[in-house]
Symmetry: C2
Subunit: 330 residues, 2 copies
């Protein structure tokens, strides 16, 4: 690997001058500049980023920590963040931590050790908040809400309202026996959705019927079986996310239960897949793009501000499609 001193020797200048040409930090005489550029070209020189960031303490990198690379929600989020970061000259490093606290910790450490310019973490792990407070790099938490104020921002949606909207919509579509497949409680994002559903039921004299489930499709498959056993009279299901909703549909379809004729179904997230599968999934839309872009903005524009755990909530909306019998969807 050619280094900056090799280039300097070949161009007959000092390493400092080569550095100046590369970075454009200080004017350099036209002829020397030429020679340096030619030498760089000839030698195929590429500046060593490691050395560079050792000095600069910035690596033009934003870390993105997601709990699962298999859930399209996170994958879409990562994709917008990626696009937004690239527009500003940053790259992202994606850490797929498999919902594992140790891996989350490791990712955070690596990012800190690698001079990352900030980290965007989508994690529900309560235990992570202590960790977060250890680091001084900018941190944005997306799709979760913790107690600690030691982060630059929390970006999340009005999940409670989402839960309400789902219950309300199903009721408007004629359902009387709603069952909520809620995510693991204790997690804010899952809790709020459930509470929205619950409050709506209470206010409208509906029986509250609940089943609990992890956010992935394997869990969704088995939990749906259980649901049908425990609540055979169910006519409307609120799923905790779209992947689970897709699993629910799969089981219903397998059992020849017509959707939406016998059972109606509402998902949560509005991932691309929701409108790609057949029937298209009625779901609660999260503004994933807006959240991702905002996250990058906070890191880059407000990362230097003191951490105050500011909260920003994004609105959700119900998108009626083919798994419910709404008037709008026909």
């Amino acid at each position: 690997m050619a280094g900056i001193r090799d280039v300097a020797r070949q161009a007959g200048v000092s390493p400092a001058t080569v550095s100046r040409v590369i970075n454009g930090t200080t004017p350099v005489a036209a002829d020397k500049r030429e020679r340096v550029l030619r030498a760089i070209e000839e030698m195929g020189f590429v500046p060593n980023e490691v050395a560079r960031s050792l000095f600069k303490k910035s690596s033009k990198t934003i870390g993105v920590i997601i709990p699962s690379i298999r859930n399209p929600y996170f994958t879409q989020l990562a994709d917008v963040i990626d696009a937004a970061a690239k527009e500003r000259g940053y790259r992202i490093v994606l850490y797929n931590v498999h919902h594992d606290l140790d891996q989350e910790r490791a990712a955070l450490q690596m990012l800190a050790a690698a001079n990352a310019d900030g980290v965007i973490v989508a994690s529900n792990n309560e235990a992570l908040q202590e960790e977060l407070a250890h680091y001084q790099m900018p941190v944005v938490v997306v799709d979760a809400l913790f107690q600690t104020r030691q982060v630059n921002a929390y970006l999340y949606c009005d999940y409670y309202q989402g839960g309400r909207l789902a219950a309300e919509h199903l009721t408007a579509c004629g359902c009387r026996n709603l069952v909520c497949i809620r995510g693991v409680q204790g997690l804010y994002t899952a809790q709020a959705r459930y509470e929205g559903y619950r409050d709506y039921c209470r206010e409208h004299g509906l029986t509250e019927q609940v089943v609990e489930c992890d956010y992935d499709f394997e869990a969704g498959l088995s939990m749906t079986e259980e649901l049908l056993e425990r609540f055979p009279q169910v006519d409307g299901i609120v799923a905790c996310n779209d992947m689970v909703a897709i699993s629910v549909y799969k089981i219903l379809h397998k059992r020849n239960i017509a959707v939406p004729d016998q059972i109606q179904l509402v998902g949560f997230d509005d991932i691309h897949l929701a409108s790609l599968i057949s029937p298209e999934l009625t779901t609660i839309h999260q503004p994933i793009d807006a959240m991702g872009r905002r996250a990058v903005e906070v890191i880059l524009n407000e990362g230097h501000l003191p951490k105050e755990g500011r909260r920003q909530s994004f609105p959700v909306s119900l998108v009626p499609r083919e798994t419910t019998r709404s008037k709008e969807s026909r």
Copy 2:
């Protein structure tokens, strides 16, 4: 940020000794070791990886370059690679290059500049092969096949056989009017699938009918419309990958064309989603897990060997499910 000299001062030893304790490279007297460990604990010291890898020229990192983070095929591949790498103490850095040559180049440069220990690239971009030859770090190409021998290995599937199997299966299921939605030609992976289909048709006196399409679902949607217009008598479709197959199904469903009764459908890849949607997709299985694990193995075990562009082909198989009327699937 506390540095190694701060720790050294507090423990009353030299920085070198601290380094030895951290790395376990040389025995250190028990009492000093104790003091160092305590100091590290108290100060919350984390060794700076950038400085470390500047010296070591290894960053315990494997770069993974994928063309799209939205196609579950690549996401599943990245996930196995991630798992396999972590088992060996390496982490991966995922670059989502949006099928863009400039982004691919940039990713490669960054990886080289970041002292990556190897790179696994899933890209069909012919133009990339020149680039690949520039770098001396280990390179494995997955799901593609180029001419250059300047890579450590090509890992791919017997796509040709996959194309044949799909055509053969549809024929066995009673189809007489096969249409192949092939990927953009010129790419080996797409070409070979098509040729398998084509040769089967020729050998069995079937008319070859083709439509061309990008590998994502947006393209699949519009191409299906075109297909139905051009080949109204179609009764069997070979799709270039599962995401496209899902789009095909969507359009057929929208038009009330029964699958598999009126038109039968075979996908390619066997991503998780293929068996999650309803109806389950009949598809050509690629051993994604085996390929991903093998890729890591090559980087880590054979990365130091001279680059000879060795090729390793993995077998494919047809998985009959619900979008075809095979006897086995019922």
